[in-house]
């Protein structure tokens, strides 16, 4: 059996003249909890929809379990659980109705697991979907996607708009799926604390381009931030360093976020800062934001607004 569950090659999609996905090549290993990150509109949902043949690509290919996305067999689709964004569920039906409807489509369906997840989210079968809270709807969507015990779960922003308790419950449910050996979870999220807990692989889409695809560990160890005291007029050569993700000036200090800083880069930094070079601890959020659009050369909003505020 192949160790790659999802594979895309130069996947590209245009909506009219707008490029939503630009040459994305990605591999998702079996058994991983894989987080796809990116700002709103960066192409995450488009990618997911192409994987599951809900959209056709303009160019490029994608496959799930080795089968071309455009020709997924029912047998392969049965191995995939998909929870779309915003948990679209029919408001007029009861929980028990969607349960009966959904389970009729699957050869394998774990009723006990379904009941446990429902109960965990404080749901009962008689409840009407229209009356559920956002967190409960997320719980129902999660129960529906988990019950067939799929080998691949694809979840588009499952934690969107959830309160802290529902978020935690959802995180537990997601981690529960990893008990089954070889189950792969591919999900998108903006909640980096939850991503840091749950995920072992990370990909970052920035304005339709894939910038990062690696293990959590690799991302954490390869992206570093340095603080230097450099006069603004002397900083120019540093702003074209290879691997520079972000520069930010805070008063006399220049903060540089750099990926894969090698000896050569470090030497240039040390030279520019007259020997004094401080590495600043970096959180996952700092590393991720470094890759996201329009943040490359920044002056903080506070610094930007200060002069006019003082005038007023």
């Amino acid at each position: 059996m192949s160790d790659v569950v999802i594979e895309t090659h130069a996947l590209t999609r245009y909506f009219g003249r707008h490029c939503a996905l630009d040459g994305v090549s990605l591999r998702v290993p079996r058994g991983s909890v894989f987080a796809l990150l990116g700002r709103n509109g960066s192409g995450k949902s488009t990618l997911i929809q192409i994987l599951l043949n809900l959209l056709t690509p303009t160019r490029g290919t994608s496959s799930v379990f080795g089968e071309d996305s455009r020709r997924l067999s029912p047998a392969t689709l049965a191995r995939v659980g998909y929870a779309p964004e915003n948990h679209p569920l029919p408001a007029s039906l009861k929980v028990s109705d969607v349960h009966a409807f959904q389970r009729s489509y699957y050869r394998t369906w774990d009723d006990a697991l379904f009941a446990t997840v429902l109960d965990h989210f404080g749901l009962s079968p008689a409840q009407k979907i229209g009356h559920l809270s956002r967190g409960q709807r997320a719980g129902l969507a999660m129960a529906l996607v988990m019950a067939p015990r799929p080998e691949l779960l694809v979840m588009d922003d499952p934690s969107l708009g959830l309160d802290p308790v529902a978020r935690r419950t959802l995180l537990e449910a997601m981690l529960l799926t990893t008990r089954q050996r070889g189950t792969t979870v591919f999900f998108t999220s903006h909640l980096l604390d939850d991503v840091e807990r749950a995920a072992d692989h990370i990909a970052i889409l920035d304005r339709s381009v894939l910038r990062v695809s690696c293990t959590m560990e690799t991302l954490r160890s390869c992206v570093k931030r340095f603080a230097l005291s450099v006069a603004p007029d002397a900083a120019a050569p540093l702003l074209v360093l290879p691997g520079l993700l972000q520069s930010r000036r805070e008063g006399p200090t220049l903060l540089l976020t750099i990926a894969n800083a090698d000896e050569d880069v470090l030497r240039q930094l040390r030279t520019a800062s007259a020997g004094q070079l401080e590495e600043v601890p970096l959180t996952l959020e700092d590393s991720v934001v470094g890759y996201l659009g329009d943040t490359k050369h920044q002056v903080s909003l506070f610094d930007r607004t200060r002069p006019s505020a003082e005038v007023a």
Binding site: V33, L175, D193, D194, R197, A198, D200, P281, L282
Partner: protein, 134 residues
């Protein structure tokens, strides 16, 4: 065994590193000692609500220097204290901490004697207390 871990995402220290550091600290403080069992990778991951691979990575690092041992079929245990590093390597690992302590201490205006005193106090705090005679 009064040993409890708590990890916080969003910190500059990756979660696997937080686990490694807290196990080492518990050992230094005598809250864990040789032969104590640790939860399995799966149990620890569910307790902390983190990916099992993260715990596995922490356990691999802790097993690498003998801090913990996996006994097949029995579980994970705190290993016998043994030095796997040479004296030179241990000194190399100690150096950045000594540098930071001495630099910071002197900058804050403490005398050398006061620094030594604070190290002595801390070591006394951490020393296992169970050998105490009633």
């Amino acid at each position: 065994m009064s040993f409890d871990l708590s990890i916080s995402p969003g910190s500059a220290s990756p979660i696997f590193k937080q686990i490694v550091d807290q196990v080492r600290l518990a050992l230094a403080a005598g809250r864990l000692s040789e032969g104590d069992p640790l939860p399995s990778v799966r149990a620890m991951a569910e307790k902390l609500l983190v990916n099992p691979n993260t715990v596995a990575k922490a356990y691999t690092e802790l097993a690498g220097d003998g801090t913990i041992e996996t006994q097949p079929g029995r579980g994970v245990f705190v290993g016998r204290r043994r030095q796997v590093y040479t004296k030179a390597e241990r000194l190399r690992r100690l150096k950045p901490h000594v540098d930071a302590l001495v630099t910071e201490g002197l900058l804050l205006g403490f005398s050398l004697e006061e620094l030594i005193e604070s190290v002595t106090v801390k070591a006394a705090e951490l020393r296992p207390k169970k050998e105490r005679v009633p």
